[in-house]
Symmetry: C2
Subunit: 201 residues, 2 copies
């Protein structure tokens, strides 16, 4: 913008909105305008909701999820299967699995995956708390829901090794053709994994 | 989402973010997660910027722009040409023209366009203040920067009629081929307008 079209407060709001994923400089400007124009209907409640969440959000000391309570909503939910524990890298992965609604379990958020290149070692992740939780809570099955990347699979192997002595079944997500996926758009690695893990019809 | 994955505070934040233009339910969830994870670097400053803007934003009594000061930044800018006044429907149009940087003028925000179907009449828009401003400020040229829609052009005609007695030149934006536009994608109305307004090379 060649000249200041509005006060620094509005420019600062635009700059901060532009740092949200999914919003660029242009859409952040549109979002700021929408907020300014819907002052009472949108801007005031959003400000209050942000301030509320900002004051209340904590990291769950049990699973590493982020929520407004500790233990978090998922850990407090008595209706979830007690013997199942799903290991995820990130809170975003926890939310994605909950969206899928395919299981009714508790989670353990590692806070990342092992990555020698980025200097992320076992001590940087919530792996010790995972191991002690598996023993204390008498978990029957640990589902490693980690990405099908080199680092994700390295992390899965590392955790599997640590849990080898424990009386626990360790599983990982199936690899194969994504639902709705077309074969000729898939990479060779996925196709090979899908063939190796083929199931009888 | 089948079950509550987080406290109501976070769900409310997601719902409010989803009402911003450019964000849907899914990207609002990603934005909320980004905020939660970047608590100090993003969530706290954004909350402060919103609260700051919310407390300070006012409508400029001179031109109808929204800003944190009255008169607004544009009206206060002494470097703008005094004899030029650009009439726009909305604050968003003012921002768009400022982005283009093609003129260095003051604005008058109507707050919409005349629309008999939607029940928007002359009294609902900042038209009386425009007319008195043109006389008081001794404006030399009024540029009607209104959309090339039926309602926009109706509004332009209405204002032109009101200003017929005043010593002021009234102009409107040129209609024609958009820069970068290809002829075979353009509608007949635009092509006809571009041919009518053809210029000698």
């Amino acid at each position: 913008m060649p000249r200041a079209v509005a006060g620094p407060e509005i420019e600062r709001l635009v700059q901060l909105l532009a740092r949200l994923p999914g919003l660029g400089p242009r859409s952040a400007r549109r979002a700021a305008l929408a907020l300014i124009k819907k002052r009472e209907a949108l801007m005031a409640p959003l400000t209050a909701a942000l301030a509320d969440a900002l004051a209340k959000i904590v990291v769950c000391r049990t699973c590493g999820n982020m929520d407004v309570c500790d233990p978090c909503t998922v850990c407090q939910d008595a209706g979830r299967e007690r013997h199942l524990l799903v290991v995820v890298a990130d809170v975003a992965d926890l939310w994605a699995l909950e969206r899928a609604g395919a299981l009714n379990a508790r989670y353990h958020v590692l806070g990342g995956v092992l990555s020698p290149l980025d200097g992320v070692g076992p001590d940087d992740l919530n792996i010790p708390s995972l191991i002690s939780r598996v023993h204390q809570d008498q978990i029957g099955e640990v589902i490693l829901a980690l990405g099908a990347t080199v680092d994700g699979q390295t992390t899965a192997h590392y955790i599997t090794d640590l849990l080898r002595g424990a009386q626990v079944r360790v599983t990982r997500l199936a690899q194969g053709v994504p639902v709705g996926g077309e074969l000729d758009y898939l990479d060779e690695g996925t196709l090979a994994a899908a063939i190796r893990a083929r199931t009888q019809v």
